[in-house]
Symmetry: C2
Subunit: 376 residues, 2 copies
């Protein structure tokens, strides 16, 4: 039910198949984020059209609104959002620690203020596990204490220790609840402190046999070389037969650097959020479609792309939609940006399968082209 | 190129086929409105999926932004908005007279203030015709002087006389421009004054042989019986072999009443505008999807409907999308409402074809069910 098979590798990068109750996905893979049970501006049919195999939804947001009880009454999260492929729910840890408003943390859990009605609510490892079980995603995440990106060693140590204690409680609760239709993945914290990351990983692996492992607390403001360093430290210590999920990473250059360092799974709101702001990913870098240069541009948004947006509309029309505040624009750029990252993962899979340094050559070529001047 | 064939009739109602350069449409037909070159929240693929055969776009809005020159450089309106089926552009008359802001009218034309940049602009019958020719829709509308719904006879007479003088100028300009890929339709004004309507119609028909005729200045605040009265007055005087287009009418009950009075074509922003406000058309009347009663309602929005929204999602999920301000909700209700009106037209066509009073029986049945209590 929760198998992962590695097919090919090229240096530390690898391709694989992750089999889940709602289907199998090929890795490396990018997961679009459906925070409130919908990937903003896109329908499930759109997501299938761009090749999305798995979607992430946010436990915190769905717990606050409409509530997991409502979703359960409507048949669970898959049926609720009409998505019959795999789903992953995060645990709410990241949201509780990153959203504004009142927050009180102790070993028991986190008391916080709902961003919807301002009401006080409590999340504990057990509650986060129960809510996710009720939602019914294929993959649930352990409830974690997230420290800020620039946290010193003592703060990162505290967050790591608490996250490990909470992982034990999540796993205990999940064992009681689960009938095998959902798996629970641990989240490794430890900031940019390599010794903490190594120790945390060792202690997580000592706690049991997991079907996947997430690396949290990166891409939260630390310098990029620090993130790459942590991934390089972890890679030889990660068991090969389980997928590695780098949480919240979605800039194209980071996806590539992380795949080269052995990561299999990614999620990020950037492609849809930036798309709604008029920013489109292209092989030459991001472009802002509102730019006056595109006013009468009859070419496609990204000439290399096969998505509905790029095969149907001109840049001039897309610019008009944004300048005129038309809803269709938000959807068309979100669609393209998600397709862009899924195609990026597809291209990396193909290069890894080729072997013989094909991934490195592909990545060098990609980097030379990306962010070239000459595009707005 | 601009043929209209009447197939069946039932009382004054009839079915027909209108053949245009970009395809043929079956009448009675409802035209979704794409004000700025996009039917708000819907893609051309969505419009085809719900069976839309023809779309209306607004000359005023497209002239002001992005400008007809930009659209021409991007291949004309069809290619610009990626819609390969028939298009109709209104003349801008209605917008110029109904949008807020400065306006000065004389026989030459209308000077008005752009709602986008506040700049002064001038529309004349000739300019409105040229702009529409540049846009390239299958059907262009004559530039008309629209009087308020409650206008007295003298005001309505003035508007009618000016509209007739302007029609002459539109037709003259259109004859020079057109190479046969676009037709021009006159608009009949005259308010709720039956004698004015009769006279206006006679004088329009005396001016030439038209491929269609629009009835303007109705559904602008007058009592519904007044509108029905005008339609009844006109019907026996309208030449059977040309389609009759009732402008701006789109409430389901008005569509039916007008088809019963011999009208063939309709347009209205209501289905998409109301959809974006959470109001959905159903056989029992409009419902507001935000209503708390739908919180855990697992049924479809409209159990009789075959659209993607009704066959894929629960009312509970749609309510969540609206309560959580998610963009997908705007699209799904717009999609359903447009489908609802297109299905209404389909149902009327089927009843008219049956003959033997089938339309009257169908309409009675429909009215009994619509706006029944028992639905929110």
């Amino acid at each position: 039910m929760f198998e992962f098979t590695v097919h090919a590798s090229s240096g530390r990068a690898r391709t694989g198949t992750l089999t889940l109750p709602h289907g199998a996905i090929e890795t490396p893979a990018f997961m679009p984020v459906g925070t409130q049970g919908t990937v903003r501006a896109l329908s499930p049919a759109d997501l299938k059209a761009v090749g999305a195999g798995i979607v992430l939804a946010n436990t915190y947001h769905l717990h606050v609104r409409p509530g997991e009880d409502v979703i359960a009454q409507l048949g669970g999260l898959h049926q609720f959002m009409a998505w019959d492929r795999p789903l992953l729910t995060d645990s709410g840890g990241f949201q509780v620690f990153s959203l504004a408003g009142f927050r009180r943390v102790d070993d028991e859990g986190v008391e916080f203020q709902s961003h919807v009605d301002g009401g006080r609510r409590i999340l504990t490892p057990e509650r986060a596990t129960e809510i996710q079980w009720t939602l019914g995603a294929d993959i649930a995440m352990a409830f974690d204490h997230v420290a800020p990106g620039a946290a010193d060693e003592a703060t990162s140590r505290d967050a790591l220790e608490r996250t490990l204690r909470w992982l034990e409680r999540c796993a205990t609760r999940h064992r009681v609840l689960s009938d095998g239709r959902q798996t629970l993945w641990p989240i490794l914290q430890g900031g940019t402190h390599r010794a903490l990351r190594e120790e945390g990983l060792r202690r997580i692996l000592d706690m049991g046999s997991w079907t996947g492992l997430a690396i949290g607390g990166l891409s939260v403001g630390e310098p990029k070389p620090k993130m790459y360093e942590v991934l390089e430290t972890l890679e030889p210590r990660l068991p090969a037969p389980i997928p590695r999920y780098l949480m919240g990473v979605g800039f194209p250059e980071d996806l590539i650097a992380a795949v080269e360092r052995g990561v299999d799974l990614f999620d990020c709101v950037a492609p849809t959020r930036n798309g709604r702001n008029g920013s489109a990913l292209t092989p030459e870098g991001a472009l802002n479609i509102r730019n006056a240069a595109f006013r009468t541009d009859s070419g496609p948004l990204d000439p290399t792309c096969d998505c509905e947006t790029c095969t149907t509309y001109s840049r001039g029309y897309l610019r008009h939609l944004f300048v005129a505040d038309e809803l269709l624009g938000l959807r068309l750029l979100s669609l393209h940006n998600v397709r862009y990252l899924i195609r990026l993962a597809e291209a990396m899979r193909a290069a890894i399968r080729k072997g013989n340094g094909a991934l490195a050559a592909w990545a060098d070529d990609w980097r030379r082209r990306y962010n070239q001047p000459g595009i707005a």
